[in-house]
């Protein structure tokens, strides 16, 4: 099953050269995809096109077999949720619970059903104890987890995270990434994650890494494929490499294939027995 199918997408910003031209991308349901590229490569624009926040010039976008058209927009959006970069600019409610409620209110969920749904969503991201807090008493990482809960409460099939960790401190970032891992474990194939990032270590958490440059798809594959075969390309694009690859490349004898950090650790430990 395809979660998202993009065919021949074309888009340009006003007074600028086309960003996307004949762009194609298919994302399988249940995948965890990292969409990477430098600033201005088009990755955030792509997310906004998928959500219909920007109007494409041409091409077709299908979300779970539902073509994204003006009539279908509301229905298609019900299948998707998005967490944005700036934790402050997406906090609609006056308190954590109110913020989670906002989407439910829009979907006209009956008032008496809301508390249970809100609590369940907040529990999933580990923020249930903060239900009555106001946003400015929360850290950036906590706000992003609330944003994630607000999305989860609507039970989407696809969650897009647009550089959701870029403005966070290391603790906040780690907590958000851990929450994503937990989510993926809990929901499995029922949840498609699309994570927009320029952090290669974050990207290495995904099942599939898609690299964009100026609206073009330049690399696409598993982390192993992208980081192994594409290492020079990534360096040329100024994107850098995950920590484990940096270390591997500096070793006297390199591991036989791509290893993530945990695997590299294990490999070295068995090597030295």
């Amino acid at each position: 099953m395809d979660a998202i199918k993009i065919d021949n997408l074309a888009y340009h910003y006003e007074d600028q050269a086309p960003l996307f031209k004949n762009f194609n991308l298919t994302i399988q349901a249940g995948d965890w995809v990292a969409l990477v590229g430098h600033n201005g490569s088009g990755k955030s624009t792509l997310a906004k096109l998928i959500l219909g926040l920007l109007e494409r010039d041409d091409g077709k976008i299908t979300v779970y077999d539902l073509p994204l058209t003006e009539e279908n927009l509301g229905k298609a959006r019900e299948k998707m949720g998005m967490v944005f970069q700036n934790p402050d600019n997406q906090f609609v409610g006056a308190t954590v619970a109110d913020d989670v409620a906002f989407g439910l209110e829009n979907q006209q969920v009956p008032s008496q059903d809301m508390p249970a749904k809100i609590e369940a969503a907040l529990k999933t991201v580990g923020m249930a104890a903060f239900a009555d807090r106001e946003p400015h008493y929360l850290s950036g990482g906590q706000k992003q987890r609330v944003a994630l809960a607000s999305v989860l409460a609507l039970q989407p099939k696809i969650i897009i995270l647009d550089e959701a960790t870029a403005m966070l401190d290391p603790q906040g970032r780690a907590a958000v990434l851990q929450t994503l891992k937990d989510l993926k474990k809990a929901y499995g194939d029922q949840l498609t994650l699309i994570m927009i990032t320029h952090d290669m270590d974050e990207a290495s958490l995904a099942d599939r890494v898609v690299v964009l440059d100026d609206g073009k798809l330049v690399l696409d594959g598993t982390p192993a494929e992208v980081f192994e075969a594409g290492d020079q390309k990534l360096k040329d694009l100024g994107l850098g490499l995950p920590f484990s690859v940096q270390v591997s490349q500096a070793l006297k004898v390199q591991p036989p294939h791509y290893l993530n950090q945990q695997e590299l650790l294990q490999w070295l430990l068995t090597l030295n027995k």
């Binding site: 949720g81 944005f84 600019n89 109110d98 999305v151």
Partner: protein, 267 residues
């Protein structure tokens, strides 16, 4: 930016917190209205007593209210000066040119200050104990009848709650931009009026650009979470009058009746 108390919500568990926001809005409204009808110290003592009761029922430290009054001290002083120097009447206690201090002026000034402080404190209780969204929801409910004459009450209420939500953020941002431009040598205190007005531009432009960016981001976030029509939404915070509200209504009724009697008797 922790100094600002007026307009800020502070979580707590006092009795006032348990009241329906509509009750609080109505009581505040009645209280403010009542104060307009008197210029005698006896009703003011009664009104002050009522306020002290309300403050006590919020279970917040009195120091908090005091620090809330401090930023508007200059406004109070300004009002006092106006009242003292520009109220005509006799006897004249002191005069110099067109300035004169009269007994009615001094008396007026005292009442204005008391009235001002009472109103500010009562409104502070409302905002301090009621989350902004609840105020918005309550206004939507209280103003509900206006929907019939095509006033977009739901939209206005939502706009109000979002505006209130962004106030602390924008205050914070103002401080940040001010610090940044001060570090680049900005100064408000030198030059003529035109130069001073110009000095505000480096503050206003970034603030405006930032607010616009926030607005665009927020619009996207709301749209993605399915916002379409303010009228076709359910509400998480359902307003229901409880027994505290009946108690509050009774206490307020006693206050109003006694206040009215005092006003009738003392003027």
């Amino acid at each position: 930016m922790n100094k600002i108390v007026i307009g800020r919500y502070l979580p707590g568990d006092g009795w006032v917190y348990r009241l329906d926001p509509r009750t609080k809005i109505l009581i505040t409204f009645i209280y403010v209205l009542a104060l307009v009808f008197t210029n005698n110290w006896v009703p003011y003592v009664w009104a002050t007593a009522f306020l002290i009761l309300v403050l006590a029922l919020t279970k917040q430290p009195l120091a908090l209210y005091w620090s809330g009054l401090k930023p508007i001290l200059w406004l109070i002083i300004f009002t006092v000066v106006l009242q003292i120097f520009f109220t005509p009447g006799s006897p004249v206690l002191w005069h110099w040119g067109f300035l004169r201090v009269t007994t009615p002026g001094v008396v007026n000034a005292v009442y204005v200050v008391i009235r001002f402080v009472l109103i500010i404190l009562m409104s502070t209780v409302l905002t301090l104990t009621t989350p902004p969204t609840s105020i918005a929801t309550a206004l939507e409910s209280l103003l509900g009848p206006l929907k019939k004459v095509r006033v977009p009450v739901a939209e206005l209420a939502l706009m109000l709650s979002i505006a209130l939500r962004f106030v602390p953020l924008l205050l914070d941002e103002t401080q940040k931009i001010m610090n940044a431009q001060k570090s680049r040598g900005m100064s408000f205190s030198s030059g003529g009026p035109i130069k001073r007005a110009k000095a505000v531009i480096p503050m206003l432009v970034p603030l405006f650009v930032g607010a616009l960016q926030r607005a665009l981001d927020l619009a996207n976030a709301m749209e993605v979470r399915g916002f379409q029509d303010a009228n076709q939404r359910t509400h998480y915070r359902v307003l229901k009058y409880g027994h505290e509200d009946y108690q509050a209504a009774a206490v307020t009724a006693v206050f109003v009746v006694v206040f009215a009697l005092l006003v009738l008797h003392f003027g």
